[in-house]
């Protein structure tokens, strides 16, 4: 099959622009990125299908019909993108309500682990004090030797 250059360029630009926005921290931009990437992927699927007349039996000859199967797939994808968009919009709004902005923050728990790694400590260091032994239980284990 011979590819269509317009489609190929459209796919590249939509996905490239979408990915650039996905890498942002503002949820609204991420959302727009999702929409653009979604459209880009839809066109990507379309690129692989035959161009032609609408696939409606009786109205157009079967020979020149466009390929209906990718169309059904894309149709499903379009509507799902609508659902995802609504969800991400709600998320952005919620974030604005709770935090006063719609930025994606770094995960606090992951930050805690990075801090531990920078201090060269084990996961339980906080709870067990700084005596260098991660498990105080060792001291009272019954396997101790006779004095």
């Amino acid at each position: 099959m011979i590819p269509n250059l317009v489609y190929v360029v459209v796919v590249g630009v939509l996905i490239g622009a979408g990915v650039t926005l996905l890498l942002e921290r503002t949820l609204t931009r991420v959302l727009i990125g999702v929409v653009l990437v979604g459209n880009g992927v839809n066109v990507l699927i379309l690129t692989g299908s035959e161009f032609g007349t609408p696939p409606i039996v009786g109205e157009t000859p079967e020979d020149g019909m466009s390929d209906p199967l990718p169309q059904a797939m894309i149709l499903t994808a379009i509507v799902i993108t609508l659902g995802i968009t609504a969800f991400l919009l709600a998320l952005a709004y919620r974030s604005q309500q709770l935090l006063g902005h719609d930025e994606v923050q770094d995960d606090a728990e992951d930050r805690r682990i990075i801090d531990l790694a920078e201090r060269d400590e084990g996961p339980d260091a906080k709870e067990n004090g700084d005596d260098g032994l991660p498990h105080p239980v060792y001291h009272c284990a019954p396997g101790k030797e006779g004095r």
Binding site: M1, I2, P3, L5, V6, Y7, V10, V11, G12, V13, I15, A17, G18, V19, T20, E24, T28, N39, G40, L46, T47, G48, P54, P55, I56, V57, G58, M65, S66, P68, Q71, A72, L75, T76, I78, V79, I80, I84, A86, F87, Y93, R94, Q96, Q97, V104, D106, D110, R111, I114, L116, A117, E118, D120, G122, P123, H135, A141, P142, G143, G146
Partner: protein, 991 residues
């Protein structure tokens, strides 16, 4: 036990002399009965599996039994191991003749996995020990625990389950089956050591035992698989000696030894066993003396016939075993806690048994099996004695006990008999076994002689700590107060007494024991003189060495009373330092690794994923992509126009600094994509895309009201450039992928076959719609389920804490009465006076028309562009107009239904359509075509998949309604509220 074994032996039903090679009547008195080397007797009826099932049933019933009967229920639970013991006894005759009982059941036929069991003499001995000691210890536990004991039901269940797993382990003939039982014993052991979960020491000990034995078990599994692949069979009985040796076999054997040695607490894995003494004493007696720790040496004993000559089997076992034997003995001597003394003694003895069973001659095999049996009896008895002392005297510290021997002579006598077997005094089984061991090594080569020195030294240490045990437990010590101990009842005493007596009786019955153990030793070639177990061999070198060990041991014991300097000499056996450091190291490494890879930053993760995509997919494309030569510019020039619109709008959207601009540009590029669909010949797609873009823009506007107009400040220029760089790279790779993939397409599309069946079977002319509701209806079903989830997510995010009551129109006014509708719209005044009158009028005029049009699209979709998706979206747009014109009250008036209910109904209709066609005898979601005449309407051509499309329609309408209620009406309410952050406000304005 052995005594009883011989009594029942004669009652064996004699096998058929014609069909079976085991035809001679067992001649018990004869020293060398006729043996059948490869004789097999297939068990009828699968009693072995039945016995395993008995253990499982007992384990399941145990908690209820304990609740009803208290500790006495343990007697009932003991029925399972007792039945196994009796069953094993009935096969004594077959075992004595070197026969084997086999039983094979299909398990996973696809993988050629079978439940293969095989019991020969050595496993048979283990079955007797496991079931016999298990029965006695359970009976003992009935007295050891009081009715107030926490978790006794769980204890009983796990204990008997362990007995079953151990039974399965020793009779399994398949390496993988053996592994399954092996790990089951580890898990049950973990549960039993951690019997008292409130104590951190027992939790810690349980975890340590689990980690060490499971780590070894996993290594062993790898070894098993290597061995099984190497040998071409996983049958233990068929993995034979003539395997080609080499690095592969060495690796397999080392891995298997890791498992065996860690299970038997042999150096360097010894440390877990003393810690495991945190378990209740019956558990220690059974798992950590008689049964589980024997699994390792048992495996060594089973595999040595095949691998004794292979590097590094014997060498590794000897080195580890010798260290364990000596270090364990010395450390046992240093203990002041009787139970710990026994624990280190067990470690030491396991080292010795490993050496002897790992050597691989006739004589050592005989000695090893005898040592194994003897150890199980005397060590279990001694543990049970310590349990009685602990329970009645309240302590097991040797410097707190004094004069117990005079007060409890029966208990002391039991201990003396058991210790006699341990240190090898005649006429116990321990003496017989030790004689056999010393003789076997005396008669061996120079290396055997060298090992003999270790064995004698270890035996001397055993004598020393054995005497110290007796002295510590029962002697009167001058500067210690007399111990006040309550007498133990006969039921409590019975188990240790029986075990000790069995060890003594087996010594007298040494020739009979020889007959039972020699079939195992027969797996080795005879080397000239054949050794027989006996109490008296005359004045042999072995006797002299035995005497030497005993005298040295007595000397050491008395020397320990004179000075205490020796006790500061520590040997590195029991320190879990390496384990601690390893565990700490794993924790640290996990923190470092997590800290480095899990940065918690979404852009970072995405960046890594995308860069990998560019590197791998892009690299493949560059180096391996079948780059095509042909490309067409466009199909129609109109595509160029649409493409230019999309590209410009998308790039501008990515660069926009204001939210609204970005949103509008995204919409423009979306409409451009819809144009592409039109030119491609995809009217359904174009319709849906136009509608979805419109709904999306409205949604955006609804939410952007509450967000700042401009995006936040961009980060550093460098970061920005990096992001744009990744974006461009991914875009290029995606375009190249599209290019290469499309060019590579050679097969004819499957959809070329669709037009005909679409009409004949699907009853529709619009192939896309037939695909959605019939050919690939399952996909659509999944999709509408996703929509439902997304809608629920939106609502729960927006309604937050105040959800449920007001989520779906709870705050809406009662449906307006007809008489009140005097204005153009139902309730325009509630949303303020800023609504445009023209919009209200137009909405009023158009609403019903649009809804009607949506229904038309729904029903015509099967033959023309349209369908449930497009229809639903159009109806949603109609609702959207009402909302935009008149606010949330207007929306409620237009759609006085719950969005959730609409979504649910839609899904139900869709599922119901599928179920109905199934109920009528078709496949799920199969369509039926109905043609009938209706008065007035005339001829009706109806396809049942229309119902499915109606479900889709309802779900889409529900989704849009849900979006309007959440992102529209509820956000309005938040804005109207005086509270600056309404979503955070507590419950207010109840419905």
């Amino acid at each position: 036990m052995l005594l009883r074994a011989f009594r029942t032996d004669a009652q064996l039903p004699a096998p058929d002399p014609v069909d079976n090679p085991i035809s001679c009547a067992p001649n018990l008195a004869s020293a060398a009965p006729e043996r059948i080397g490869s004789g097999q007797l297939n068990l009828p009826g699968g009693r072995l599996l039945v016995l395993l099932a008995c253990h499982a049933i007992a384990a399941i019933a145990a908690p209820a039994l304990v609740r009803m009967l208290g500790p006495r229920a343990l007697y009932a639970v003991a029925a399972a191991p007792a039945a196994t013991f009796v069953w094993a006894l009935t096969h004594a005759g077959v075992m004595r003749l070197g026969g084997a009982l086999t039983e094979t059941r299909p398990w996973v036929p696809e993988l050629d996995q079978e439940l293969a069991f095989r019991m020969t003499a050595f496993p048979w001995i283990m079955v007797l020990l496991v079931s016999g000691v298990g029965t006695l210890v359970l009976a003992y536990s009935a007295h050891y625990f009081t009715s107030t004991e926490e978790g006794l039901g769980r204890f009983a269940a796990v204990f008997v389950a362990f007995a079953g797993a151990m039974f399965g382990l020793v009779v399994a003939d398949d390496l993988l089956l053996l592994y399954v039982f092996w790990e089951l014993t580890s898990v049950f052991s973990y549960l039993l050591i951690g019997h008292d979960p409130a104590r951190s020491a027992s939790r810690w000990a349980a975890m340590q035992a689990l980690l060490v034995t499971t780590l070894g078990g996993l290594a062993m599994l790898v070894g098993f698989i290597m061995l099984g692949q190497h040998a071409g069979t996983y049958r233990l009985s068929e993995v034979v000696a003539d395997l080609p040796s080499g690095a592969y076999l060495v690796a397999a054997l080392v891995l298997i030894l890791l498992g065996a040695l860690s299970k038997s607490a042999v150096f360097p894995f010894s440390f877990w066993l003393p810690s495991a003494m945190a378990a209740p004493t019956p558990v220690s007696a059974y798992l950590h003396a008689a049964a589980m720790v024997k699994a390792g040496v048992f495996l060594i004993g089973m595999l040595t016939p095949a691998f004794a000559a292979d590097l590094p089997w014997r060498q590794a076992i000897w080195a580890c075993g010798a260290l364990t034997f000596l270090f364990g003995g010395w450390t046992a001597l240093r203990q002041t806690d009787l139970k710990l003394m026994l624990a280190y003694g067990t470690v030491s003895q396991l080292g010795m048994i490993a050496i002897v069973l790992g050597t691989g001659t006739y004589d050592t095999a005989l000695a090893g099996a005898a040592l194994l049996a003897g150890h199980a009896m005397f060590k279990a008895a001694l543990f049970l004695v310590v349990g009685i002392i602990d329970k009645t005297a309240g302590t097991r510290e040797i410097y707190s006990l004094s004069g117990l021997g005079d007060r409890r002579p029966l208990l002391a006598a039991t201990a003396v008999v058991a210790v006699a077997s341990m240190i090898g005094l005649p006429p116990t089984l321990g003496f017989v076994a030790k004689e056999a061991m010393l003789a076997a090594f005396w008669n061996g080569g120079p290396w055997d002689r060298a090992m003999l020195a270790v064995l004698v030294a270890g035996a001397a240490l055993t004598v020393a700590y054995g005497l110290r045990f007796l002295w510590g437990a029962f002697a009167r010590k001058p500067d210690t107060a007399e111990t006040d101990a309550a007498p133990a009842g006969p039921g409590f005493l019975a188990a240790p007494m029986l075990l000790a007596t069995a060890g003594l009786a087996a010594g007298f019955l040494a020739p009979a024991a020889d007959g039972l153990l020699s079939p195992y030793a027969d797996r080795y070639p005879h080397t000239g003189h054949v050794y027989h177990l006996a109490l008296w061999h005359g004045f042999t070198p072995a006797l002299g060495l035995s005497l030497l060990a005993i005298l040295t041991g007595i000397g050491v014991h008395f020397a320990t009373h004179r000075t205490s300097a020796w006790r500061s000499v520590k040997l590195p056996l029991a320190s879990g330092t390496v384990y601690k450091q390893a565990l700490g190291g794993v924790d640290r490494a996990a923190v470092e690794l997590t800290g480095r890879t899990q940065r918690g930053s979404l852009p970072f993760y995405l960046g890594v994923i995308l860069v990998s995509l560019v590197a791998f997919a892009g690299g493949l494309l560059v180096f391996d992509g079948p780059w095509p030569h042909a490309i067409r510019l466009y199909d129609t020039p109109l595509q160029l126009v649409a493409g230019a619109v999309i590209v410009t709008a998308a790039i501008a959207a990515a660069l926009a600094r204001r939210r609204f601009t970005a949103m509008i540009l995204t919409g423009v590029s979306g409409y451009g994509v819809a144009m592409l669909f039109v030119f491609h010949g995809a009217p359904d797609l174009a319709l849906t895309q136009f509608l979805v873009e419109t709904v999306t823009i409205v949604m955006f506007v609804l939410v952007l009201r509450r967000l700042p107009a401009r995006f936040s400040e961009r980060p550093l220029k460098l970061v920005r450039r990096f992001r744009v760089g990744i974006g461009v790279a991914v875009g290029v790779v995606a375009a190249a992928m599209a290019f290469v993939a499309v060019s590579g397409r050679t097969a004819a599309p499957i959809s070329e076959q669709f037009p005909d069946p679409a009409v004949t079977y699907g009853g529709g002319h619009n192939i896309v719609n037939v695909i959605l509701v019939d050919i690939r209806a399952w996909d659509t079903m999944g999709e509408i389920a996703v929509l439902l989830v997304a809608a629920t997510g939106v609502a729960s995010l927006i309604f937050g804490r105040e959800r449920l009551l007001i989520r779906r129109g709870g705050s809406r006014p009662a449906p307006p009465k007809t008489g009140e509708q005097v204005k153009w719209l139902a309730r325009p005044e509630t949303s303020g006076s800023h609504q445009a009158v023209i919009l209200q009028v137009v909405t009023r005029l158009l609403f019903h028309t649009i809804v009607l049009f949506s229904i038309y699209l729904l029903f015509t979709g099967h033959n023309h562009p349209g369908g449930g998706f497009a229809g639903g979206l159009v109806a949603g747009l109609a609702l959207m107009f009402r909302y935009l014109a008149g606010g949330r009250a207007e929306l409620n008036a237009a759609a006085p239904v719950d969005a959730g209910r609409l979504l649910g109904t839609g899904l139900l209709v869709a599922v119901g359509t599928g179920a109905a066609s199934f109920a009528f005898g078709g496949t799920v979601l199969q369509s039926a075509i109905l043609d009938f005449e209706l008065p007035v309407v005339g001829h009706v051509h109806f396809v049942t998949s229309t119902f499915f499309d109606i479900g889709v329609y309802l779900v889409v309408v529900g989704l849009v309604l849900d979006i309007l209620r959440s992102l529209g009406a509820e956000i309005d309410r938040h804005g109207e509220s005086a509270d600056p952050s309404p979503a955070l406000a507590p419950e207010k304005e109840p419905a």
